[in-house]
Amino acid sequence: MNWGEFFFMNGYAWYIWGSYGMALLIFFIEIVMVRHRKMLILEQLHLMRNVENVVT
């Protein structure tokens, strides 16, 4: 079996790669969003800390 045949999937290429592509996209987006959320809250904590340091 060569790679062209493998990706053709006996004519079901769109359905199969569409499914796995969406799965990959969802996992990717979810991870990026969680990382972004973490970055935001850490930035906010830095800000809060800096403000406190200035005040005290």
């Binding site: 493998f6 999937m9 079901y12 359905y15 499914s19 796995y20 959320r37 809250i41 904590l45 406190e52």
Partner: protein, 245 residues
């Protein structure tokens, strides 16, 4: 050995524990994904009736089963949070919801892509597909209710109650949809009558385990964010290495 569970249920302790667990879960999830996809695409033979299209099963079935399972786990955490007033369980419940909703969506998407070549239609009002759609609505309701309440304590408790009502309703909804489906003689989707090949089973279980570990890893990452957001004024947070930097 007696483990003091209450010690780990304090957000400040759990933040560190979760941080140590995340790499383990995510790496084993990644390895299992590779192994599962290898078995699914190279070891498992072509199905006689469905040809190659059945290979969608390796992502569709784990996504469907886990989306339902995560709802129950979420309702369980929500109930714990409501009854014992433990903050961490409520945080876990709200951390699980987005992952569950995304898996429910993935299950519908892959179901549609599997349905098109098999039944000739993107969407069939089959009992299982319909229940999955309603499950997605329940997730969206939980997330929307949690997001629209500003006070975190009220948000936790209100959405916990909603999750419990939802989980009590899920069997009733499933039964009624099944009833409705048989009355209208809708399409019944049965996986190939013959028993599944051993390699197919192995591939599916490996992928299921992989998605499961992935869900745990991403939930732990999210619950860490939630802990920081909620406890941003606490002393221990300002002493964290990543905050001090």
């Amino acid at each position: 050995m007696a483990i003091n569970w209450f010690k780990y249920s304090a957000p400040s302790t759990f933040y560190g524990v979760a941080g140590k667990m995340v790499p383990w879960f995510s790496w084993s999830a990644a390895i299992l994904f590779v192994v599962g996809l290898y078995i699914g695409f190279f070891v498992a033979p072509t199905d006689i009736q469905q040809s190659e299209a059945y290979r969608i099963m390796f992502i569709h079935v784990p996504a469907s089963i886990l989306s339902m399972f995560i709802y129950l786990v979420m309702a369980g955490y929500a109930a714990l949070g409501l009854i014992f007033n433990t903050r961490l369980s409520s945080m876990m419940a709200s951390a699980l919801a987005p992952t569950g909703a995304l898996l429910a969506f993935l299950s519908l998407w892959t179901g549609a892509l599997w349905g098109k070549p098999m039944w000739g239609a993107w969407w069939v009002w089959d009992a299982r597909l319909t229940s999955e759609l309603i499950l997605l609505f329940l997730y969206l309701g939980f997330i929307a209710l949690h997001a629209s309440i500003d006070d975190p304590r009220r948000a936790d408790r209100a959405s916990a109650l909603l999750a419990i009502i939802g989980s009590v309703n899920v069997p009733i909804i499933y039964f009624s949809v099944q009833w409705w489906n048989t009355l209208h003689q809708g399409a019944t989707v049965k996986f190939t009558g013959t028993s599944m090949h051993v390699a197919m089973q192995q591939g599916m279980f490996t992928m299921m385990l992989a998605v499961w570990l992935y869900a745990i890893a991403v939930t732990l990452l999210r619950v860490r964010c939630i802990i920081l957001e909620r406890e941003c004024k606490a002393q221990w947070v300002s002493e964290l290495v990543e905050v001090r930097r």
